[in-house]
């Protein structure tokens, strides 16, 4: 091969990249796990607006729009509800309407979230799509009303094993931050200046930052406005 003369080729012989080249796809899975028990009902419109804003802000981000896949799971009314299946932000048309009712089946919510994360990761891996560490954001205003402990243990183990970055927010006086602390060291408690809009804006910033990262460092956690970090 070394002995042949200069090959007769031009730049046109270089294979060109195309916009639909899936080999460049990258994903960051973002799971939002929301307490939609009856005690959250007065916040349902606010939650809807904050979710809509989160989606819009991610759509406005040139990188997150293609790489972030958002799913929303609610737990309330004695069941877990998939409010949005995983989909790239680009493909999300609107935010889910949130209907709050009943108790706080936290364990069911954790189980659903974990199953969805696991299924989606497996699917992406089977297609060879590189992933960033998934982000999980949990919001709850009360104590679990189901037999949550085994699910919490499974979730915490999976999060550690698979490198999920989990952030949990306790909202209101009845929020059980000890339960949240069994899942992650990143537990926050809402203060009087808290707003759902600020919390979801922080989520959007965190997603945008992760989708640009390439390092082994843990994400630097800035405490979002309107919350304090709880030692767990």
């Amino acid at each position: 091969m070394s002995d042949y003369d200069q090959p007769d080729v031009t730049v046109n012989d270089l294979p060109q990249p195309t916009l639909d080249d899936v080999s460049f796809d990258r994903r960051v899975l973002v799971m939002v796990l929301l307490d939609i028990s009856g005690s959250m009902s007065s916040h349902a419109p606010e939650l809807y607006r904050a979710l809509a804003r989160l989606i819009q802000e991610l759509k406005n981000d040139s990188i997150a729009i293609k790489s972030a896949e958002l799913a929303v799971v609610g737990f309330g009314n004695e069941r877990a509800e998939t409010l949005r299946e995983f989909a790239t932000v680009r493909d999300l048309l609107d935010a889910p309407q949130v209907h709050c009712d009943g108790g706080t089946p936290f364990g069911l919510g954790l189980r659903r979230a974990l199953q969805m994360l696991s299924d989606r990761q497996t699917e992406l891996m089977s297609r060879g799509v590189p992933q960033y560490k998934p982000l999980v954001f949990i919001l709850s205003d009360g104590c679990p009303t189901d037999h949550y402990a085994p699910e919490a243990l499974k979730f915490a183990k999976a999060a550690e094993q698979h490198g999920y970055n989990v952030f949990a927010l306790g909202y209101g006086d009845a929020a059980d931050t000890k339960v949240l602390g069994s899942l992650t060291p990143h537990v926050f408690k809402a203060t009087s200046s808290f707003s759902f809009a600020d919390w979801f804006k922080w989520i959007s910033r965190s997603v945008a930052r992760v989708s640009r990262s390439s390092e082994s460092d843990e994400i630097e956690i800035e405490v979002p406005p309107g919350v304090i970090k709880i030692k767990v």
Binding site: Q6, G128, R212
Partner: protein, 277 residues
Amino acid sequence: MKKMKVIVPEPVTGSGHAADNKPCQDRVIHFSGTLLGSSVTIIGLADGAGSVSHSHIGAERVLDLGKSELTEERLLSSIVRKTKFPRLFSSLSSCRVFGIKTYEQMWPAVANDVVQEMQAELTRQSEQIGVSKKQLATTVILALIIDDFVFALRVGDGALAVQTTDGSIQSAFPPKTNSYINETSFITSRDYQVECAIFRNVESILATTDGCEPFFFNQMTGEPQSARLESFFKVAKNEAAESKIAAWLNSPTLRQITQDDLSLVIATRKTNHDNSD
């Protein structure tokens, strides 16, 4: 043994960095010459970590060996001195007698020495500019082509493909397929690993940072995209290859489908036409 022709386009700032007004964090180098009667080519690529403040300096320091002040000949002797390659060269004669096994035993030790020297340089640099060493985090791929051998090392990500004289193409360093993107290790990481590879009968090599990597390597299997690589190797032998490949690297489509900085280096045996120049 024909000398190598090296194509080293200027790295292209990724659209993500451009949008964030950040500098390109990729750096590339190459040197060619003759040492102790052997034809020697060295290529290097470094990809500074995205979120730390001075990684473009880190990438530069692990590769830069005083390029602006030295002639090529002096530069080569400088890189050889600084990277402790003399150990390799001084053993060259005996290795020729004992064959590739000796090289395989020797190269990992030399490669580790090279990386330690790079780390020492980053320590000096961090003290000089008053930032922590972590802020200089970078990956690195270095390939040393001596006669028909290539000795390569990698810390972190990026990939390297080798075409041998029988035309076959292999991944010397395939992309990392089993980790999250944000689990890349750097030369400054506590748990960094120095990966080593040796190939013989080398016709061409292509090294890339992670920006272009998906174009040249299957992201699921790590296998090289041989047809694409072969096209690049053929064009690399052609006249004006540098400008053609630079134009490819600057393609608006490429900059749209990835936000990463883009860099690649190709080294290929000169053709009869080149050698008669």
